[in-house]
Symmetry: C2
Subunit: 236 residues, 2 copies
């Protein structure tokens, strides 16, 4: 649904596919490290818990660069996926809230890799402001608007408790973030153009337990093959 006059865009990549690409990429990167050079849709699919035909459809949307009879060149595939996901971009991220969760995020492996970089970390607790946390020095939330032009965040991460989350979100929107990723267990309101994504332990647990509840405790292997892992997506 990202309509518009895009001109020379190579192909429309469905949202469902976009959600799987990072998973493929991670698997392929791991395989590269293990010394593998090529992979079949069958292999990749079984590692990603995805039907092989789906893998082929997904990859064919990026262009046709598999070799019939052999499979895909892993290194090349990784490069193509990265290109499709737009790794070349620069995505400054502001993290607000440096409790345990915020600290974990700021230190996360694979955060600064990829186009993402932490443009700033913010809190209001005087005990935390000024502290060095991982790669950054925590600043007061009031300084959010004072970031250099090149560091103006495109994405805001809300890692506060539920109570201040809406206020923090408003502050992020005010400095122009175009997307919010929130870990706070609260429902947020943002203006329509801002992308909003909730990451939530209790929601994940509830969805999981729903499926567990209607699954026999000791089920037969056959029926289980059909039970795919609850996806990554919009789901998202």
């Amino acid at each position: 649904m990202v309509g518009g006059a895009e001109g020379s865009s190579p192909r429309r990549i469905p949202e469902a596919t976009v959600a799987r690409l990072p998973v493929y990429e991670r698997i392929l990167t791991e395989m590269l490290r293990s010394g593998d050079l090529t992979v079949s849709s069958e292999q990749l699919g079984s590692r990603a818990r995805v039907n092989a035909a789906k893998v082929r459809k997904d990859l064919s949307l990026l262009g046709s660069f598999g070799t019939r009879g052999t499979g895909y060149d892993i290194a090349f595939l990784v490069a193509q996926i990265q290109r499709a996901l737009g790794v070349d971009g620069d995505w400054p991220v502001a993290v607000v809230g440096l409790g345990n969760l915020g600290r974990a995020l700021v230190n996360a492996e694979g955060f600064s890799s990829r186009g993402f970089r932490i443009a700033g970390a913010f809190d209001i607790d005087p005990a935390v402001v000024g502290q060095q946390v991982g790669p950054v020095v925590v600043r007061h939330l009031d300084e959010l608007g004072l970031l250099e032009v090149g560091d103006r965040p495109t994405i805001g991460v809300v890692a506060t408790p539920a109570a201040p989350a809406q206020q923090v979100t408003d502050a992020l929107v005010a400095v122009g973030v175009r997307a919010i990723l929130t870990f706070a267990p609260a429902v947020l309101e943002v203006p329509a153009p801002v992308l909003l994504r909730y990451v939530d332990l209790s929601i994940d647990l509830q969805v999981m337990s729903f499926f567990l509840a209607r699954q026999p405790a000791e089920p037969l292997a056959d029926e289980l093959a059909q039970l795919r892992a609850v996806g990554l997506t919009p789901r998202r």
Copy 2:
């Protein structure tokens, strides 16, 4: 796809709906706190960023208990959603890895609420083992198998770095968890019947940035209305 002879199960609830129910529930609970008594599908939809018809479809799957011309009784609706999600269950959860992330999880609001309870927290770091973290005392991973029968975890949460994640997962599977929720940036292998869900900052960021990249920086309100927030679900 949870086929089988379930007999008197009320209705099949699609996965997409299941992923939205906890969101509705959270909004409704907040509205209750604000003193609201009823809600229309329009109101609930706009808060959840979901089409009103979809809200009605979702809720009608739980049974028909709206009042035409008025809307839904919020308290009753919350109860129905909870019943559908199976709140009545008991879901012991084992958390492995008590770095910043594990600490955040163990202390999370809304963890122990709902049927979930922390049956145990495990690590291998001698500096952490024995420590009181939030509501629990951390035990050594080797003691995972020693939990009382009533505390045998149904769900395992992996909050370790990528390197030991597979090993930890194997240990969890060995003690009989039926679902794994992992925050480790690694691809895991589990036997087919075990549900597996990845929660991953860098994947979320990548998906978000993909949509941002093909979205005009200062887009018109009309086009944006179509850009729904990247969902929760499976996520998804």
